[in-house]
Symmetry: C2
Subunit: 314 residues, 2 copies
């Protein structure tokens, strides 16, 4: 039976992945510093004898990490500062929490002789592409956010470790992920605003930004599919639905699901914040060729996310 480490274990995608891996019979070691991750996300996992949780900071506790890595077969590295919007406040935050942490993990894996990594990158590294849907092989992009830059640096490090130390890697470029345990992003922002004042909703940007999303279950299934079929040392996969929705579509579904009728006030810019890309639509045909077929539409995912937020706030 495989022994798998998941970093960012108490986070949104990490905890969903762990539940899935445990249901498949794997042994899982979950790592999290619990700064943004919540132990409640691991309420099912912590009941399993096949799960071990280690509170550990990847930035500062590398030698402890090396010990925990001994005997591990595969690492899913999901720990990150995953919120693109607040990068400008501190240019070191994404760098430390994403890039430096990834280097620490890679080097700990090298020392502990663990050579298989799965990494959650982001469609943000395509910057403002003008090819839609954007394939993995698009023209060398220019970064538009500190978050994207930090993830690009992670990808480069992982690729270099593959070539230098014989590591094997799968890099996943996600669109925004939705579903149970969702923790930040526009659905939560709108949900929080309407919960506080059902009569008013203020939207950053003009609402015509068009983006793709993916349900966390479909996202997790995509990663596990790759873990079963990838035979080459290094592959990069986009994960996202083919469809897009506008922020205005999303607003409609959210207020419908909340039974609210706010006056919606839009901004003027085609971007919600610095580094926001007006269009995100990834070409996931490479993953589809392995048999991936997402089960949830964007509308279903957004509605499911709102229901989760309602349940968890009540």
């Amino acid at each position: 039976m495989k022994k798998i480490m998941v970093t960012g274990a108490a986070g949104f995608v990490g905890s969903n992945l762990i539940d899935k891996l445990l249901s498949m019979g794997s042994h899982v070691v979950g790592i999290d510093n619990l700064k943004t991750g919540k132990l409640v996300s691991l309420e099912f996992a912590l009941r399993s004898r096949n799960f071990k949780f280690i509170a550990l900071d990847l930035m500062t506790e590398k030698s402890l990490l090396v010990e925990e890595l001994k005997g591990i077969d595969e690492v899913y590295h999901l720990s990150a500062n995953a919120d693109v919007r607040f990068g400008p406040e501190d240019p070191y935050r994404d760098f430390n929490q994403n890039t430096l942490v990834t280097l620490n993990l890679l080097d700990a894996m090298r020392i502990a002789n663990v050579n298989r990594i799965f990494f959650s990158s982001t469609g943000s590294i395509y910057g403002e592409s003008n090819v839609f849907p954007t394939p993995e092989t698009v023209s060398f992009p220019v970064q538009t956010s500190l978050y994207g830059a930090s993830k690009l640096a992670c990808e480069g490090l992982i690729q270099a470790f593959c070539n230098t130390y014989g590591m094997r890697a799968s890099i996943f470029r996600f669109v925004s992920v939705l579903g149970p345990r969702y923790s930040h992003g526009h659905v939560k922002d709108f949900f929080d605003q309407i919960s506080l004042d059902p009569r008013n909703l203020k939207v950053l940007g003009n609402g015509f930004q068009a983006k793709s999303y993916v349900h966390v279950n479909d996202c997790v299934n995509g990663m596990i599919l790759v873990s079963e079929y990838q035979t080459t040392p290094l592959e990069i996969f986009n994960i996202g639905l083919d469809e897009v929705c506008t922020v205005r579509d999303s607003v409609g579904w959210i207020i419908d699901e909340m039974r609210a009728k706010p006056i919606v006030q839009y901004g003027e810019s085609d971007r919600g914040w610095i580094g926001d890309n007006p269009i995100i639509q990834l070409d996931s045909s490479k993953l589809r060729k392995l048999g991936w077929a997402p089960k949830q539409t964007i509308e279903e995912s957004i509605r499911a996310t709102v229901r989760y937020l309602k349940d968890s706030s009540s």
Copy 2:
């Protein structure tokens, strides 16, 4: 008159750039920690009243750097660990000396309100491209060395700072640079071997690696040309000759210039070391469109480098 900061001032490219900038009448502040850079490289510059040298470590002395940046118009950031070959010995070396140092500089510039940067990146970030000559807009590459990964991370940070804080940047992807004050690379390795034992020369790899080079004067002229003509906030330029030579060509010119007749022993691999790319040939037509026309051929540059090494070792 422009006030220009050059990091890596006592290094190979930095010191040549400074001599050129001073000859054009600019005021220059040179920064170097003198760990690999040599003060002798600044022997002309230090005689100029328009030049100030500051011994400063970009990794650890950021607040001092902020002070020195006040009133600076432009920064040429050339400080780096520039030797791709020894990355595998310490995965943090390229990361700290290239990526972290660049972030420190960018943030110091942001604090000091200096918004124009010129950056020496590398053709190594194209990894093992299969498009030759390789244009700046080639398909999203995969990194093959820790050195390339560290420079890719720098590029991403610079691009993100442009979009986030209104910085303006020129990114130069160099082929290997040759000429006076050359400090490391295959010409020096071969020169040192033959100086020690004129009868034997051992070459890493089979000698059929085909690479482009550029003379440091042509390289410096390319950067200065861009500084005069670029009007957009961010541009990326390859700098390299159209021609390539094989390692075997280079060996012939080096031993001829040294009047030596060693028995040359080649390796078996098509790569000289981990992360070596068998072919490096960049498409510099974007820079040529600005009027750049290199004056030195590869053969002339290699011979000039050998003559410099002879002069400086005697």
